[in-house]
Symmetry: C2
Subunit: 177 residues, 2 copies
């Protein structure tokens, strides 16, 4: 029977604005121990916003970590004191100027279970209402596009999406709607 | 038109055995700059191994970063000098004692595009042949289980999987097979 690894010691190596880094000494069994390098990452939300014409609203944005401009569902970090639902509504209003009247949680998963504590929660957002354009994060530049949900599903098969949250969100949304 | 962020400077803060941490100064435009905290993560592979009885072979393993025992497809890091295909065959032999005679690449994606350089490549592995049990990684303890592919797909809907690679791999494999 597999056991959880017992954490014996944690050492903080770096505390950043966005993420932190620790090494954890763990015991796998009485005789095997290991040192794990762990990223403490903030939790995040992604939203699949689908309007009454079955159009999905997507954003294109620069992702310097991977050196590419990616096509994605709206997403972002959960701010201090926010619920995942509040973060989902805020990110929609900031990124696509639409607020979902209805949010349905579709999935929670670990995005980098090998080394990161980060949790991603995905929502289906419907009953989209226009909202006054809010200030985006100052260091985010986004392009907003809307396409039929089925076209987005085809784009997954064609390899147009390169992040897990967009693909999982769209595949689950297609299954629900 | 969205532009890639121009990287002006990189500062290495930590070099680990598994991952490294850097801060990157970037320019979003002539007037907006940002500092990004970036994890340099090794690339990895995941394999959906499906045998001639349409059984998928999965592993359960402790994931200390998220404090849980997760049910996953076989997966692991690409070692220095290895191709993704070689890593996929090696991980299958180490984790489930089966080597796929046929490997089909199904997907490449960024697992944490917001802050990590890491790339995940997923394969469908078929024509599975038993191999002599190889030594697992010393600091990995795994449990191997096999279930019908359709049952694994149901487990996705039921929330039994909590990592992106297993869900995406199984959903794509169902679409192909």
């Amino acid at each position: 029977m597999i056991q959880k690894e017992k954490i014996i010691d944690k050492q903080r190596l770096f505390t950043g604005n966005y993420l932190s880094l620790e090494t954890w000494k763990t015991h796998l069994s009485d005789t095997i121990s290991a040192t794990r390098e762990i990223v403490i990452a903030p939790n995040a939300v992604g939203i699949v916003p689908v309007d009454e014409n079955r159009q999905i609203h997507l954003v294109r944005q620069a992702r310097p970590a991977v050196g590419e401009i990616l096509l994605e569902i709206p997403a972002g970090l959960i701010d201090a004191g926010e619920s995942p639902e509040q973060a989902a509504r805020r990110e929609c209003s900031e990124e696509i100027n639409l607020i979902p009247g209805n949010l349905r949680k579709i999935l929670t998963y670990y995005h980098a279970e090998g080394y990161s504590t980060g949790v991603m929660t995905l929502f289906l957002g419907t009953e989209l209402a226009p909202c006054h354009s809010q200030q985006n994060d100052q260091d985010e530049v986004l392009e907003h596009i809307a396409v039929p949900l089925e076209q987005a599903a085809n784009w997954i098969r064609q390899g147009k999406f390169k992040d897990s949250k967009s693909m999982l969100g769209i595949l689950f949304a297609i299954d629900i709607l």
